[in-house]
Amino acid sequence: MLKQMEGSRAVAEAVGLCRPEVICAYPISPQTHIVEGLSELVKEGRIDNCEFINVESEFAALSVAIGSSAAGARSYTATASQGLLYMAEAVYNASGLGLPIVMTIGNRALGAPINIWNDHSDAMSMRDSGWIQLFAESNQEAVDLHIQAFRLAEEISCPVMVNMDGFILTHAYERIDMPRQEQVDAFLPPFEPIQMLDPARPVSIGAMVGPEVYAEVRYLAHYKHLQALERIPVIAEEFQARFGRASGGLIRPYRTEGAELIVLALGSVNGAIKDVVDQMRADGHKVGSITVCSFRPFPLDALRQLLQGVRRIVVVEKNLSLGIGGILANNVRMSLRGLEQPVFTVIAGLGGRPITMHGLQECFTKALAGTLEELHFLDLDWEIIRRELHHARSERRSGPVAENMLKLRLQGRSDV
């Protein structure tokens, strides 16, 4: 059924259709509307047989989900940014225990300086946690990915994080084709764990493991991701067959035929990138793009096939690994190992900075001309940076940079 609705509300309804049995809720922007929506759905009885638990922290949110999932209940939570960091220890624990929890991240920047707007720093901080990490391009895809996420998580016994851009998606009203309950029920069978906490079959879970098999245990966790590389496209195909639209999968190429330049990105910015691709194609440039939907596991082979022989590769990403650059770009380089293709990184949209089509097009044009820097910061205000660096050199001062910059502004000092 087509409905005009907020992304968060749509995700809440989609999660509800998955018949979760335990939902743990804790507020943080821009995720909050999702758990608010779920609390309504549970209270109204539209999600039946479900425990909605208001916890005292994100650490508890995921910990409660760990307990309920280990006891055989389909479990869900959602968070963002500082909340994801606050639950970090439990994030690793959930995947180490192989618990098929699904968690939505309304992607948001990390402090300090505290910033509530969108980027991908939060998800990237957990990239090695063992969770499957999927990125939605639109609210429709966010809806669809949640339904696929439960299926995937329970098939391979591994938690799944569904990432959707904070505000840009979570708070955007779009037309959503909301699946029907029977459709979801046919696609997603009830959760039947291989092993669980059960007095009839007592097991000890979470024992201490020493050097003798720890590495093997970790390899097997890695192996789940290798399995996921195979299952993600299969599940996406089945989804398409049942629901009639393409959503999810590992990657989605757009107009890559004969492309000299291919742009890669995670999440909603792919919409703008595709528009730029269309414009540039119209102007006769051989440009295409690839939406990376599955960031963990990372589709090395699928990307290598598409990127082989492409002259220029640009990765637009909303994160910055301080001291090295873009994380997605480094992963893309890994898919091209042994090949001599340069991969350019465009760091964009940090802390909610708007990414304009104009700015993107300028980057792509430069890339085609061979004049783009290897690590480029989109729309950086170099004036502010030069001023701050100058003062830092002239006055020995330590302390928070953001506050220093603010002070300089208030003092009206424009001397450089």
Partner: protein, 341 residues
Amino acid sequence: MSDENAPEQKVKFYQKGTYTVGNRLVNVRQRSVQASMDRSNSLTCGHRACQGCGEALGARYAIDAAMRATNNQLIAINATGCLEVFTTPYPETSWQIPWMHSLFGNAAAVAAGVAAAMRVKGLKQVRTIAQGGDGGTMDIGFGCLSGMFERNDDVLYICYDNEAYMNTGVQRSSATPVAARTATTPAMGANPGNSFNSGKNLPLIAMAHNIPYVATASVAALHDLEAKVTRAMSLHGARYLHIHVPCPLGWGSAPHDTIQVARLAIKSGLFPLIEAEHGMVTATVPIRQPVPVTDYLKLQKRFAHLLRGGEENARKLAAIQTIADNNIKRFNLVRKEAPRV
């Protein structure tokens, strides 16, 4: 509970290698769960606890009693700590019950999740307990514990209080008594041992949540401990049991003195045995003849520096005596009733 006319229990000796018949000689009603051949042996032999470990003893009694009270329908969640480490060295486990360890600070929340799963699955008979050391309970797990209390989740949380972070080698926790030597409060300098802080009384904090049941227990009063677990399991909602468990390694006491040390903590008034329901004290175990705190302190090397004489030490010992005296006053512990311990 077995009744008076029940057939005499068959006698079986305690776990391997001991000849203790124990309380099988007393009236059937008064026998402990441990005296029964049908006890679940939830925490069975072979674990790696130190000799004389109070925590291992307390856990065995507590869990077997909980198993009997729930007709063996029990799931346990364990915080990181000695109990977790000494019971589950891969690939072995001493637990005969469904048991899970997740993290150091989240046992109460994980247990809340298990309880939620049981509710949603309609498995009312399956009950959940969480357990951890004083560090996992009072320090790092305190937020999750308070949340579990406040939501009144159907979980019995058991804290095994050995008054320090033992698993990492005896560091100070918020349960470490004043003046005690630990690896991070060495017996050095002008103020040796732990500082004279104001302390943290978790049973009272638990009571402030108005939860259905809060109790303190000790390995020196095992009947009382079992009775409290049984009472706790007869109730629903959040319940808290705080068990005093001497740690020979950390306290510098002799392994064979574990029970004696625990008993002197009760008799001196330093560890009051209380029970409370919905925030009101309902019972306390009386002390007939209190003993001076030094009787308790002198069995433990962690307090050795206090007992070397001098004015300063006398002042500190008096301060510790005041703590005990205040407990006695607060809970009206010195009464003429027959002592239970």
